[in-house]
Symmetry: D2
Subunit: 289 residues, 4 copies
């Protein structure tokens, strides 16, 4: 099924290196060609392992296994998505939403995956363009969320939100979270948003501490064109974050254009993957009072 597999690991974590060594031994025994990310390759016990950066890996491999947590997965995925390679995540601690294998069970589950016994799930990203004075200032992709936030905790930002050119609202708040279903269990959840099933083709807008009682998260179709316009009277110190990484400082009048990225992420799960079980396990979903 898979002939060339890339391995990407969280940096400077002994348990990750150990897991990478085990994976190499396991995969080489299954006659799979293995490539490891440059930061980990030279730290491995295994000798003579090929190393490649993410773009090369994306082009050459038919599967990339990411070892770490959901954060490691997010960062690697934002590059690998360009190459449409399949991805599989191994979590070091408890199971993650994106990384649903764990070291104790990974060999049994990889036996299944290598035998072609797996499910594939498509996850979409948000492509964002920031426009300033008519020019595209910056572009960025996010698997979880795009957040416009005040940089000064004591000053609200003011912005208008449009869906497909229609005004949704003019709001003063600490900010706005625009989240994919993948991101709905991350920061959007902390902000009071609903959970969106990962198979849903939808985007949720969650206001952060809005200066109104009559606001609610709103869920729109995944094909919507979302535009956030920072108000002219808004304080200048607003910021944009993509998947939890600050991207740039926003200025009054900046327009943030968000739509679904054309290329999707191809996420692989071993058989028996159960999203709701992960939800119950990770979020203690519906634990009784």
């Amino acid at each position: 099924m898979f002939k060339h597999i890339g391995l990407v690991g969280k940096h400077r974590v002994p348990e990750v290196l150990e897991t990478l060594d085990k994976l190499i031994t396991y995969l080489q025994a299954h006659r799979v060609s293995v490539t490891v990310d440059p930061d980990n390759a030279h730290l491995l016990s295994t000798a003579d392992i090929k190393s490649a950066d993410l773009p090369t890996m994306g082009r050459k491999c038919d599967l990339v296994i990411i070892v770490g947590g959901d954060g490691t997965f997010l960062r690697a995925a934002s590059t690998l998505v360009e190459y449409e390679v399949r991805l599989l995540g191994i979590h070091m601690g408890r199971v993650g939403f994106l990384t649903d294998l764990t070291p104790p069970r990974m060999c049994v589950q990889l036996d299944q995956v290598l035998a072609g016994d797996f499910t594939q799930e498509e996850r979409f990203l948000l492509h964002t363009t920031i426009m300033r004075e008519g020019e595209a200032l910056s572009e960025v992709d996010a698997l979880n969320d795009i957040v416009a936030h005040n940089a000064n905790i004591a000053r609200l930002i003011e912005f208008e939100t449009y869906i497909n050119g229609q005004l949704v609202s003019c709001q003063r708040s600490d900010g706005l979270i625009v989240s994919t279903p993948t991101g709905s269990t991350a920061y959007a959840l902390a902000g009071g948003g609903p959970i969106l099933h990962p198979g849903l083709d939808a985007i949720v807008l969650v206001p952060i501490c809005p200066n109104t009682l009559s606001s609610r998260p709103i869920v729109v179709d995944g094909d919507s064109e979302i535009e956030i316009v920072i108000g002219p009277r808004s304080p200048t110190r607003a910021q944009l974050a993509s998947d939890g990484q600050i991207t740039l400082n926003l200025e009054p009048g900046d327009r943030i254009l968000i739509h679904k990225k054309r290329k999707h992420l191809h996420l692989i799960h071993p058989p028996g993957h159960d999203y709701f079980a992960t939800l119950r396990q990770k979020l203690d979903w519906n634990r009784e009072l």
Copy 2:
């Protein structure tokens, strides 16, 4: 465009009768054949007007205009959906979510609609089957929502929820709201749910006063098969409501199967219809503190 138009009005409301009379004069002047619902027909000032029940109207008309509020629209629509006839709503007070014409502007807007200048929107309904001991006990359609609720305010009901056969949660609460995007601005909103844009193909599940801190509304794909199983230890006095009408008493072990109805509602709007404007007007959406 439309040759045969049916008129349905809220009963026993003088303003509705007055509006129906005006509509008949207007439509007859435009050489449209008009039929009125039996409850209102004999109360009109207009003489010799044809009357027909909803199923006949659904079969014979190419448009039905519903005069009243969202409640009147809901009740008429649940019958008319079977005939795939287009629907248009006129609201007596402020604009409604389903009834977006108002008497002062209706003639101008109907000029446009009769000239073919309108937008059409598809709204889906939820088809629900209640299974008891392996038999289908009852079936019902809802445009807004299906609600399973305790009948005794002092006793929680206990139920399991499944999506496409996968367990979502086992919950004790006052009940569960299963809502369409259309219903997301009705009872689901009062229960703390998000707003779903009416163009979204999704269903939201909103728990009512759940006996847990770790619960949230969850939004799933519109093609999901939803199953609620009333727990065997749950008090017997649970009830099912469809669009705010109590349908039947539930018993422990009852299974409530919910999926999207195959036939959709065809909702007509005059040009310039703006969902978010209605949202801001009706909900005072994002009014400043």
Copy 3:
């Protein structure tokens, strides 16, 4: 310290009987006179044990130990509060908010309590009078909460709320929870209310599924006079529950007068009692995503 101790147990639970037997042996060994509630007395292994109903127990004992869960405690406390006797709770499962001893540790903790090493906490109750056509129809005491709720899930009730004679709001909703700090971790929490520390002299009003976006729980001084007036247009089928027991059917125009009961509950804790620890343990308070 305590010469006469009463024992009250949840009925028909083998583990409770077992715990009662152990308590009797323990207390008699400490030369304490023991009385048991009539429902459990004749089921005990211990011979010749005195039995008394709750009022008698309240008058004669200087401490009553309640064995069961928070529900058992609530029911016994509503009678015993009249006699100003001290109360101590033993929980059969995990620790409860009112019943913070558990059988494995109870003897060690009772050693401390009998030696006078304990803390005493005052908890207040809500006294409610229902007025109909100028007459007091019924009176009831609640340690947790008073709930006015629609009896028909498909019909909102309409009511006005007054604090010290000032109109707070006119609301249409499924109902209203008026809760003590003790009740703030019970139904009020499920309804979205804040947690009130048990030492706080305050009452919280939590609307249930209000038909508005602009509503919030409101916390008022414990000495407030609260009045709920069921609206004249409200459906007749509204109900009043006190501590989760339905008390009576409400009619349009009924006035529900609520204020703090003069007599308080005297709740005893062994040393080291930690409310926030109970909160974290029971509610999984602040468990990480």
Copy 4:
């Protein structure tokens, strides 16, 4: 009743100057000695008006009238509280929570106040001391709230909260709002907190976007000693704001000690003041869906 009245106005606002001029004419006609804040005094049309800074005004006047909005009131009050002088607020736009007179009605209402016909309300402030390595680094008073917040929107802060020395929770979030009843209708409300009646002797702790599903605002007695300890692993860029003004940058290990200030604010209202009416007017409290 009042012989020496001070006037404080929002700066550089023509309507405020106009109102100050009217007040001076009105007060001098009532034989009251008037003092104006230095920033406005030299801009007035009235000649020969005495000017004094806030501390002097606090010492010499028996009433200070603040003209502007709630923000102007907050800033003046934080200085004037030290002198225990009575305060009255005039709002330029719609009524405010602290500034409940408006120019059109102010003369009628001042007639009443000068005749001794008013109510006086005590509002408490939070006194905060920031401790670093055992030393008091800074002290500040807040009438609304004290907020500890991450300075980097992409990094959660980690902190422990203690009430009277007992651990409440260890939390990772964007921050924590500690609010008085006065502040409960300001930022704490945007963060999802309950409304606390201004007469309530309580403090509410509202988490901002907590990284957990099982968190809620918690209301504690006004005499509680609150301590927030910034976690040693928390990012260094956390900030403290007092009444919406950033006060200082927090570092890991910093301890924030909060308790009620001994001196209270003495707020004057003309007769007929109705807190709940302001709530309904300002928040659109319980506006129907």
